[in-house]
Every structure is written in C-alpha cells, then in structure tokens.
Subunit: 249 residues, 2 copies
Amino acid sequence: MTGWIAVAGLGPGAAALVTPEVTAALAEATDVIGYIPYVARVTPRAGLTLHASDNRVELDRARHALELAGQGRRVVVVSSGDPGVFAMAAALFEALEAGPAAWRALDIRVLPGITAMLAASAKAGAPLGHDFCAINLSDNLKPWELVERRVRLAAEADFAIAFYNPRSRARPAALERTFDVLRDVCGDDRPVLFARAVSTPEEVLRIVPLGQAQGEMADMRTLVIVGSSRTRIIAREAGPILYTPRWAP
Amino acid sequence: MTGWIAVAGLGPGAAALVTPEVTAALAEATDVIGYIPYVARVTPRAGLTLHASDNRVELDRARHALELAGQGRRVVVVSSGDPGVFAMAAALFEALEAGPAAWRALDIRVLPGITAMLAASAKAGAPLGHDFCAINLSDNLKPWELVERRVRLAAEADFAIAFYNPRSRARPAALERTFDVLRDVCGDDRPVLFARAVSTPEEVLRIVPLGQAQGEMADMRTLVIVGSSRTRIIAREAGPILYTPRWAP
C-alpha cells in the first residue's frame, strides 16, 4: 500500500502563487478532492480522477480522502489559500480523530499555501506588518456571542484584524454587526480594506474609513482587513498604500 | 526610467515553497537587497548585484532599495517567509512615507510568501484551523507592557497564538515571561509547539504542555504556537498531529 494524502493550498487564485511543492503533489496524484471551484483550478489529465463536491460537506470529503488513501490511492485534497487556515486540514483531522484507528497509519501531509490575508495585504501594502489576528465570520462554526467577544478583545488588544468569510449565506449580517462592535471600541477612523478576488481578473481593492464601512461592501470572495490604531495610508497617484509600521510606542 | 521594487517573500527555507512569482522577479532583477542569510538563498548570476546587510538596518536597506529603483534598477528586497508579516514590506513603506515625494511615483510591488506560522502549522497538523493571532516578540519595536497586555487579551479571546522572534538577543526573557502570562490565564495544559527551521535540513518540531514550556526551548530560528482551549493532539506511531477543530461551542 503506497497511498497518501496531501492537503494542499492552491493560493488565492493566480497560478504564479501556487508553490512548486503543491504543483509536484498534483503531478503525482491519482485523485483530487475538493470544493467545486477549487477542483476546477486543477488541470485534468489521464490517470487523474477529479472529485468535486459542494460546499458544507467538508467532513464527507475528508472521509472520502481517507478511504481512498487507505485503498492505496494518492490523494490531493485542495483548498483555496492555505489549507490550515479555516480550510480542509482541520476538517481532515476531525475526520481522522473520529474514524477507524487504521487511518492513523496513513501518510498525511499538509502543504501550505498563500492564504487570502497575505495576498490581500501584499496588494494593499503591508497592513499586517505589526501584530494581527484572523477571525472567521462563517456561520455554523461558533455562536455569535463568541465572535462578538473575540472581536471586542481583538480591538482592545489593538490588533489589525483579518476577517475571513465575511458574508456567509447563513449569517449575512455578521460583518455589519462586527463593524458596529469595532466602531464602539475604535471609533470611526480606522481604515478598512475590502480585497475581493485578489490575484484573479476580478480583483478589486477598496479602502474606506470604519465609519463608512458597510457589510454590503463584501461578498463571499472578499477578505476584509481592519487596521489597528497604528495603520496608515500613504497617498500616491498610482493608488494608496495601506500599511502598519513595525513598531508601536 | 524603468526601475521597480519587488518586496519578495522567500518562504521558510525550502526551494519548493518559493512561489513562481518570486522566482520570476528574481530572474528579472538587477539588484537583490536583504539580510545576509536571506540574500544567501538567491543564486548568483551575471548582471545581478547582491547587497547583503546585517540585521537591524531595515530602514537603511529600504532607502537603498528606493534609491536604486529611482536610478532605474530592478530591485528585489528579500525577506524570509512573507514580506508583509514582521518583515521588510512595512520597513519599506516607513522609509517611503518619510522620504522624498518623488519616491511615491516608483513602481513598488509586494510579493507574498509562505510565512513561518503557516509552514510550522502545516508540519504539525493544523493548529491555526480556528481563529488565531500572530505576535512579534522582537525587542525594540514596542514596550514590554504592550506585549504583555496583548498576550493576556489574546488568551482571554481564546485565540491560538503564533509567536514570531521568540528569542531576540536584546530581550532574551520575553518568551519565558510570555509563558508566565499565558499560564496565569490558561493553566498548564495547552499544547505548545516549538517549530525550528521548518522545511530546512535542521527542522525540529517539539510539542510540550504549557506547564513544561520554557523559553530556552526556542532560539532565533524557532516559531512558537500556543494552542487555544480547543487545540487537540492526535496520537500516532508516526508522530502526533496538533490541530484545532474548525468549530467552537
């Protein structure tokens, strides 16, 4: 039995942001498993079976990967961005822990990728140049009370904050409520970056002060970064640069 | 004048983790600027001038890059990991903001890379699978009181926490004091990952409970991740998997 699983990050979209390690794993794979739009980014070839599935079936997908690897298949589970950040790696390990003991003998690797906040930050400047945090606003994974408490503490700690999945279908008001919490702690002046579909042809970046930020400015392909008290904007003809200095007084 | 600057992330060490975008920028460059061990990772070639400098001269390095680009040179400023995370991108923009107005017309791009916490997380499993934060323990960039306050709030928010530069020369006790603060808030049971030189031949991973974590377990090449209350270990013959489930009650 020579099966294995590689949980691989495809980065934010551009082929130039896929690591050679991930490209090599895809070249050796017999099976690719993932959410439909991510599997669509893998070039089909003879000997490679593509298993595309809908959203919200992460655990089914993980068990499928574990079963196939147990049969000797070489399986790449694809995520957008980095697989370890709000993506398939944790789902795979949830399934592994709850599954048959034999699964623990499988060869499993996680292959990192450029996660959305790093790609968005790079396009905008360097808003994550000082301490920061990342919060997933997706529904169903935690109660709203925990989100609100965490956002409030993050603002009190003066982190720059990256918000993933800011407009999930089941919790469309989450981002608007989050902005309300942040305005309550931070006032209206913090710069807010809406970075949509970074590194793809649909890329759009927009920066507004927190007082003007609205939930509707994000969709499911948007990554939102709210600056810390230190985050600054450099005005330029070619467009603003958003960055957070490395130091704080 | 066709000069430009690309502030590029070389990833944690392995060539297989350098993005094609960064490789392409290096192939077009006339000058590479950076800290000695990072410049040493760039293959010399005819027509490419390597400018290696010591640590703690980030602003000098940034001004040098801006001057060279203003003279029409094609300059890659190299960082380890991702240039936007506690690295050269913010330093470049600090120099840009304080410098001559003409610098704002320069063509400047930031090219993201695999930052240390993503590489360490991937090797260990998926400890950053739920909300998390990143804190730089490096000296001289902020007062200790701010570090301590931020660590305490991050623990109260129940983030997994990645610590960069845990053992800087000028503040050798920072990590030990940080563990003391965390034990005060979280108790002794949290798993702590010490990930040294990930993706290089010197890679070593070690996981201990917070009660046994000591500052001396890290050196300047170590990334430390302290789990949240939800972070778990899956025991396996091939070595433990450290991960944080996607959900929280």
